[in-house]
Symmetry: C2
Subunit: 220 residues, 2 copies
């Protein structure tokens, strides 16, 4: 088996690789894992020895097939536990990340299988992130960022790209909940901020920073 720490590195490499092209850099990993570049270098050598990553010194890293398999397993566990925490225990979607971060490392295949069944084999977690299949596939979603939607278009809020408590509470505050329909009423050319209309008719102001982190799909 892999250590808690190794699992976290693999998960983080997967995450960073998914939002860019090419190899993941040592510095990016250091920042995400809140460690120093020197520590990351050490760990990359270890992961490469175990054939979990492709690594050439100074050239960044990329997961091997096995590394990706492990990463997706951890992400699957994380997202299933988040569903449990929100759906069954009644936690808010802004309060589950850190707890799931611990639960994802519990070592039991059987536990994951039973949890999945118990939750009704959910496809998405409480933040709209797709849950990797037990076979190790990451379901693809064709969502766009709200920041890329034209004025006048009506879309449905399907996910978020930022999972911090602060961001999610801000969305709660704006009444922007997952699967709600919104229409882009106005777009401000200067700061790219948006005015969006909710189903209730109420309009809310959405900064570009926020809009960049909202994923939307075709309405209904």
């Amino acid at each position: 088996m892999h250590s808690f720490t190794e699992e976290n590195y693999l998960k983080t490499i997967y995450y960073l690789a998914s939002r860019q092209t090419g190899e993941v850099s040592t510095n990016a990993l250091a920042e995400m894992t809140a460690t120093k570049a020197a520590s990351v270098s050490d760990m990359l050598r270890k992961l490469a020895d175990k054939q979990l990553i492709h690594y050439k010194k100074y050239q960044g890293v990329r997961l091997t097939e096995e590394g990706e398999r492990v990463a997706l397993q951890i992400i699957r566990r994380h997202r299933l536990w988040e569903v449990f925490l929100v759906e069954k225990l009644g936690f808010g979607w802004d309060a589950v990340h850190d707890i799931a971060e611990e639960l994802e490392h519990i070592r039991s295949e059987e536990l994951v299988t039973r949890l999945d069944t118990y939750l009704g084999c959910p496809q998405f977690d409480p933040h709209g992130d797709p849950i990797p299949t037990s076979a190790g596939q990451m379901p693809q979603t064709g969502y766009q960022k709200l920041s890329e939607i034209n004025t006048g278009q009506r879309v449905q809020l399907m996910g978020v790209l930022e999972h911090s408590t602060e961001f999610l509470q801000h969305l709660d505050h704006l009444d922007l909940t997952l699967s709600c329909s919104v229409t882009v009423a106005e777009s401000n050319a200067f700061d790219k901020s948006l005015l969006v209309q909710l189903e209730s008719g109420r309009t809310v102001f959405v900064s570009h920073e926020v809009a960049k982190n909202l994923l939307v799909g075709e309405s209904q």
Copy 2:
């Protein structure tokens, strides 16, 4: 907070102290935690520095009030998770110990509170062990060992003192399930084995080794 390892030592000290009088020995701890006496000595010094145990060299240990508080918290979590695994996920009572051993270290007060509520504030875990209260009290049960029951007496199976998969599967095999009523039909003076009658009328042979590990209460 306390480390995973510290929590395990405190839990183990509590466990050993509860089945004996006086201080817990270094060797006993080494055996229970599957480490060596030298490692235990090191850790005891650390726990004593943190005021979690009373420790005089060569004289064994005893939990401080704070140490007992922490131990009971871990035991509470362990037992609540066991209820979850059996009641909600459908695990057998013989398969949950090791998983709960990991889940008990998840750090979130809120999680424990919500889990407890979700499970209906259970008083006992799937093995009949009482669940410590959120206030840190271990409920007392007046159970006796089946090995101490007189011939002819009818009692109800309330708990087990041994939690290994093998032992629990043996009980399943004998049809001895928690809360079933049994009557001690015969007691063998030579090896202290018992013949007990189940509600179905069927009688099963129970060795002294097994009877010592079964807790029973007044019938019905």
